[in-house]
Symmetry: none
Subunit: 223 residues, 2 copies
C-alpha cells in the first residue's frame, strides 16, 4: 500500500486508564506534560526527517551508508506522523447547539466573558457534548470571521490587493499600530533577508554544518 498504515501509536496513549492508586507503577501525566513530550518527539522527528532527506540526496552519489539506515529508519510513520501522537478530535456543534450559539451571537454582546461562557456551556451541554473551550473558541472564531467577511465584501477601493487573504503581504488591513514585521535582534541583521522564501530552519546555525551534533543530543526531557 502506498500509504503506510499509520501505527497504533495513539492507542498506546489512549489505552490508559484504571489503576494507579498507590501503585508505584502508575505514572500520571498532565496534559501539559503530554504536550511537551509530544513536541520533543516532534523535534526528533524533524531532525530525522531532515537527516534522512540529506542522506538521500547524498546517497544518490554514495550509497555506501544506506544499509544501516535502511534498518533504522523503519518507521516513516512515526516520523511523519509524530505531530499527532495523540489523536485529536474536533468538536462539532449539533444543529441545536449551533442554533443557540448563533442566536446568542447576534443577539448582541460579542464578549461572552467567562461567566457567560459557563452558562452557555451549561445550557448547550443539554444538547450534546461541549466544553467551555468549545464555546469560547466558537465565539472567538465567529467574531473574527464575521469581521473579516465584512471587511472583504464592501471593499471596492480599486485595490486589487483586496484579495481574499492569500499571501496578503501587505498587512494593510485595519491592522494595528504596528507596521508589522517580526522582531529581529539588532545584531545579526543579515539574516533578515528572508524574503518570501522561507528558511526558518536549522541551517541558520552555521552554514558549514547544517546539522549541529549538539542539537541531536537528547536533553533532559521531562521535569
Amino acid at each position: 500500500k502506498g500509504v503506510p498504515k499509520k501505527g497504533k501509536w495513539e492507542e498506546r496513549w489512549t489505552e490508559n486508564g484504571r489503576k494507579l492508586a498507590g501503585n508505584r507503577l502508575g505514572h500520571v501525566m498532565t496534559d501539559e506534560q503530554m504536550e511537551v513530550l509530544r513536541k520533543q518527539i516532534a523535534v526528533y522527528a524533524t531532525i530525522c526527517e531532515q537527516l534522512v532527506e540529506l542522506h538521500k540526496s547524498l546517497t544518490s552519489q554514495n550509497d555506501l551508508a544506506g544499509v544501516r539506515l535502511g534498518n533504522l529508519y523503519c518507521d516513516p510513520l512515526i516520523t511523519s506522523g509524530a505531530h499527532k501522537i495523540t489523536g485529536r478530535q474536533r468538536w462539532t456543534p449539533t444543529p441545536m447547539q449551533l442554533q443557540i450559539l448563533e442566536r446568542i451571537f447576534d443577539q448582541g454582546i460579542g464578549t461572552p466573558s467567562k461567566q457567560k461562557i459557563k452558562e452557555i456551556t451549561n445550557e448547550l451541554s443539554q444538547h450534546g457534548q461541549i466544553s467551555e473551550t468549545n464555546v469560547y473558541n466558537w465565539f472567538q472564531n465567529r467574531r473574527a470571521r464575521s469581521k473579516r467577511k465584512q471587511q472583504a465584501a464592501p471593499q471596492n477601493n480599486g485595490e486589487s490587493e483586496v484579495e481574499t487573504e492569500v499571501e496578503s503581504l501587505s498587512p494593510n488591513h485595519e491592522k494595528k499600530t504596528k507596521p508589522e514585521e517580526f522582531h529581529q535582534p539588532p545584531h545579526q541583521q543579515v539574516l533578515t533577508s528572508r524574503t518570501t522564501d522561507e528558511d526558518l530552519c536549522f541551517q541558520n546555525t552555521h552554514p558549514t554544518t547544517a546539522i549541529d551534533p549538539h542539537t541531536s543530543k537528547p536533553e533532559p526531557m521531562l521535569p
Copy 2:
C-alpha cells in the same frame, strides 16, 4: 505528488466518536507504556546521532553537499507541512527552540527577567531567528495559558482514579492543548483493543539492532 506530502496526517479514525478514553485530565501510563515511549525516543536520539555522524563523514568528502544543504533543507519541517511558499509574518519557533523554551519554562523560574530574556534569546538565536520580544511574548503566553488551563481543570489531588471506564459524567475538560476533547460521542467506547496487527517499528528494533539505548547517551528523559 513527488513531494513528500506529509499533510495526510493519518487516516481519519475520528469517524463517529468511539474511543475517547482519558477524558480525565491526567493520562495514566503503565510502566510498560512509559518504557516504550522512552525507548522510542531513545531510538530517535540514536538515529539522529548516527545520521549526524554519517552526514559528517560524508560531507568531509563532498563538501559540496554542505552547500546544497543550506538550500534544500528548509521546509519540510515545522510539524506538518508549513506553508510552502509563504513569507511568514509572525515568528514561529523551530522545534529546537521550542524544546529549549519549554525546558526553561518548566524548569521553574517563571520570571524571565530582562537579563534572562537576553540570554535565552541569544541562545535560541543559534537555532533560528528570534528576538527578545518573541521570547518575552512566548513566556507571557505560556504562563497565561498554562494557568488558564489549570484553573479550568481542577485536577483531583493524587486521587487514585478508578476509572472503570464508564465515566459517563461530563468532566468538562477545558484545557487548551492537545489532549482529546470529547467529540460527539454521547456514549463512549473503550475500544482500546489494539486489534490491528502488530505495532510499528521501534520497539521491535530495539534488541537486535545495533543501537542500544543504554549504551548511547540518549537516556535521561523521564524523571
